[in-house]
């Protein structure tokens, strides 16, 4: 059962943005009014805004800084973000910047979030070098919680190697997710895997959440510049 507020946070590069976009679209498809808030103040690249089009097509409202993906490296949270708390019946998804430095942005909303029904999800990826061991995840988790002044409520196992992700590789991440769960006392809420692999893993993995790769593989600066990463060999 989805909560009214869902926050995705964790180590940078663990796939929070793409997961947040997928989650927002899934909520919308379940019939809810959804807004997604980009509160990343750390990374000027690879932002929720990359998925602007797919969000619009799916009827998800996007609140993002006008400086995201621009030449201006300004760590700012758009003032419209407050709207996420004001509209009753609205479901909101927060895409938080990586690590504790990104989670700082969450602190200003902590009181409002804590008094509302919310889920704060720790996104983990076994194939990120600095969080490849469960104990390391715990260190990151504590730092993020301290900076955000909020507690995580669950885990999203988003273990992937980008285009080289395989079903076998993903199955190997299950014990890792369980270990993180044991160490933190948090439940694993979802095992996230690329949609084409999810089809093959159906029935083998519980709590499967198929993800589509949206903005992540693109290096978008302007309309003129087409998706850059597809041009790489």
């Amino acid at each position: 059962m989805a909560k009214q507020i869902t926050i995705f946070a964790g180590h940078y590069g663990s796939g929070k943005t793409n997961l947040a976009v997928n989650y927002a679209i899934a909520l919308r498809k379940a019939g809810h009014e959804v807004v997604i808030c980009d509160v990343d103040i750390v990374n000027p690249y690879f932002r929720t805004k990359d998925s602007e089009e797919v969000l619009r097509e799916n009827g998800v409202r996007l609140i993002a800084s006008p400086f995201a993906n621009s030449n201006l490296d300004i760590p700012s949270v758009p003032p419209e973000t407050s709207a996420a708390f004001d509209v009753s019946g609205m479901y909101s998804v927060f895409d938080v910047g990586g690590d504790d430095s990104g989670a700082v942005a969450l602190g200003q909303f902590a009181d409002r979030m804590n008094e509302r029904e919310h889920e704060m999800i720790l996104v983990i990826n076994r194939h990120r070098l600095l969080t490849s061991r469960p104990e390391e995840v715990v260190t990151y988790m504590r730092e993020i919680e301290a900076a955000a002044r909020m507690r995580f409520t669950g885990i999203a196992n988003n273990s992937n190697l980008g285009p080289q992700t395989t079903c076998e590789g993903f199955l190997q991440s299950l014990p890792y997710a369980d270990a993180v769960s044991r160490l933190t006392g948090l439940p694993v809420l979802m095992h996230c895997v690329r949609a084409d692999l999810a089809e093959q893993l159906a029935g083998k993995v519980p709590l499967l959440f198929p993800v589509h790769i949206y903005g992540k593989s693109e290096w978008k600066i302007s309309e003129e510049r087409k998706s850059f990463f597809h041009q790489l060999t």
Binding site: D73, R128, Q231
Partner: protein, 354 residues
């Protein structure tokens, strides 16, 4: 090789440097390079190393000078405007024959420019950033995996030739994530440093590391000696990758991320019956003149693909002694060319569509 990890180029630069035995990092943050410094800040203290965020780039490069003079493997990193600030220190490193690694994750310029990727510091890197007659060894990886190899090589060659080396990356390579493998046990050649100012311990006379010469003839002698070394490097250290080159009529020259886009353009041109091929310089200094001179005998034309206003193109012309036309395909300011744009220039260079 071990397990695969999904890493940004910036992180791979950091991890590879640590594996290569670097325990000293002095820097100052700047986009799009900051993840490298952040990685070092997290990781170096855990392996007994020193991460220090200096008060400025100028301070950082002079700390590098100090650590290197003491015989330590040391690095700094920045992006374009920050590298300009470091240029005085690089000249001092070169003038004192000190090895060090300087990483430039390039962004758009000139001036403050922008934070999107560019390759417009080519002149700066390859012609000696700073005053005086000197060179840097310049390595230009084009994948995150290659970043790892280049870091090892850059440290090794810097020590071998007692000179600073640079990894010239761009914002694309710094920011993009790709799966990488690190060697299980890093084999990095180390060199004796009998010149290091690391304590006499009653065993030797004092070492002096310095770039000031009171007598002009002495300074001239040192310059000539250094350039003999540079000549040896030009003879033995040119590195490049060849792609579909054997029968190429149109030789595309591109490095770093641009070379990956160029490969797609070359494939597309081949499908149209145009014999195009790629020389990807892996070392930008020494520039891979040998292969270009060789290809100039048979090729019809050359194409320089670069995210700058035509910088590398000059080195291509010099290498082939202007015997063949050299065309330019470029985007700047953080814009990146598409394979189609490159293909169009290949077609033009070939003499129009068949």
């Amino acid at each position: 090789m071990g397990e695969k990890f999904l890493m940004k180029g910036n992180e791979a630069l950091g991890e590879a440097a640590i594996l290569a035995g670097c325990r000293n990092f002095f820097g100052y943050p700047i986009t799009p390079q900051t993840e490298l410094a952040a990685y070092m800040a997290k990781k170096l203290p855990k392996v007994g190393g020193v991460f220090l965020q200096a008060e400025s780039e100028v301070a950082a490069i002079n700390m590098v000078y100090g650590a290197s003079a003491a015989g330590k493997r040391v690095m700094t990193s920045s992006s374009s405007p920050g590298v300009s600030l470091k240029s005085e220190g690089m000249s001092y490193l070169a003038g004192s024959d000190l090895p060090a690694l300087i990483v430039n994750v390039q962004r758009g310029g000139p001036g403050l420019g922008g934070i999107q990727p560019a390759q417009s510091d080519y002149f700066q890197a390859t012609h000696g950033p700073g005053h005086g007659d000197f060179r840097l060894l310049v390595f230009a990886p084009s994948t995150v995996q290659e970043v790892v190899d280049m870091v090892f090589l850059a440290f090794e060659k810097a020590d071998e030739y007692r000179m600073p080396s640079m990894i010239l990356a761009d914002g694309i390579l710094g920011q993009m994530m790709e799966p990488v493998e690190f060697p299980e046990s890093a084999h990095v050649k180390t060199f004796e440093k009998p010149w290091a100012t690391n304590g006499m311990q009653g065993k030797r006379k004092k070492n002096i590391v310095n770039s000031l010469y009171l007598q002009p003839d002495e300074l001239e002698r040192e310059n000539f000696k250094r350039f003999e070394r540079y000549q040896k490097i030009c003879d033995t250290e040119q590195r490049w990758e060849e792609f579909m080159l054997d029968d190429a009529e149109v030789v595309v020259v591109a490095y770093g991320a641009s070379a990956r886009i160029a490969k797609n353009a070359i494939r597309a041109a081949r499908e149209k019956g145009i014999r195009a091929g790629l020389v990807r310089p892996i070392t930008l200094w020494p520039f891979p003149e040998k292969i270009l001179r060789e290809k100039a005998k048979t090729a019809k034309a050359f194409v320089s693909v670069e995210l700058s206003m035509g910088q590398m193109i000059n080195d291509i012309r010099l290498a082939i002694e202007c015997t063949k036309p050299v065309y330019l395909c470029n985007r700047v300011g953080g814009m990146v060319m598409t394979p189609d744009e490159i293909e169009a220039v290949i077609v033009k260079a070939q003499g129009g569509a068949k």
